[in-house]
Symmetry: C2
């Protein structure tokens, strides 16, 4: 395998291992030793790819965000109706299955860390600008000329709030309430 | 001072010191040593009042919740109009001033910790049941016979999402967007 490909692949493996540790045990558990155990390698090997725990954490967050964004873009560019694309992107953003739930546990940790870390807070702001812009486009395509920026702000908030609630109470009742709240929000757009 | 009063007072002081540490530096920084420094006492003295870090953390969260709930109940029982009481309680729940922002930073830490700690997740569920019930009452008093439970679920989500966003970007623009989103949500109730 070419050396550069190998390097990128190893980094991705270590990022995936960090993710497992964070979503299972929280940010406090993210130590190089635990990541090494989860990736079945030595801490010395991690040091070869990442300049410490903080860089590993930032890489894990960027990768989570990039993966989520790629899924959203695929839905946005699909041939479904504007309403279905809007609903599809929102559902994809919520912890309605096991994989998304794992992602959400990482977001919760991210927010808590960002509250006291400027680098993470800036990364968070960048993420929201792109995310809100995509939702504003989808809202406009479905509902026509509306105050899309303000509506997108409210939709981002609704998704985050539902995400928090469903992450911390991941049962069928909360998933049902989540879907109903999103359906009502979209229906209100047409009203 | 009677011994029991003294005991309760000392516990409150240590809880306040824990809060300062969490909101300033995050949960990872919550060590008995740092709390002792913030409360200007020894770690041995803390051990006299709390059975370790976990108990101190749970006490800090319960106290944050109790303080917020007391403020909400005062507004709910005030003589303002139903709409003003609803708006007042929502504004009181959001990080629109320095004190609430500090509270929100503790909530963010709480959520992240609850994602991987069953005791905290249960405490969180209890908090939400009471909070959603209060909002459902206020919605019904303002808007009359509506599907208050579903609306209250959506309102809790909206408040949480706006709270996250405004906590991580605590500037005038986001506070303005927050107030506008809440005003629109309340106006939609009447529609």
């Amino acid at each position: 395998m070419p050396k550069q490909v190998d390097h990128a692949l190893r980094r991705r493996e270590l990022v995936a291992a960090s993710w497992d540790v964070i979503s299972r045990e929280g940010l406090e558990a993210l130590t190089l030793r635990k990541v090494a155990a989860a990736a079945d390698c030595t801490t010395g090997r991690i040091a070869h790819y990442f300049d410490g725990r903080e860089e590993l954490l930032l890489a894990a967050l960027s990768s989570a965000y990039a993966a989520a964004e790629a899924r959203m873009v695929r839905i946005e560019r699909s041939s479904r109706s504007a309403e279905d694309r809007l609903r599809g992107v929102i559902h994809e953003a919520l912890p309605l299955n096991a994989e998304r739930l794992k992602e959400w546990r990482v977001w919760l940790v991210f927010w808590a860390a960002a509250a006291t870390n400027d680098d993470l807070a800036q990364e968070n702001t960048r993420r929201y600008v792109a995310w809100q812009r995509m939702l504003a486009r989808l809202i406009t395509e479905h509902a026509g000329p509306v105050n899309a920026q303000n509506l997108a702000f409210a939709l981002v908030a609704m998704i985050d709030g539902i995400g928090v609630r469903t992450s911390l109470s991941p049962d069928a009742r909360h998933r049902k309430l989540a879907r109903a709240a999103i359906d009502r929000w979209i229906a209100d757009l047409d009203a």
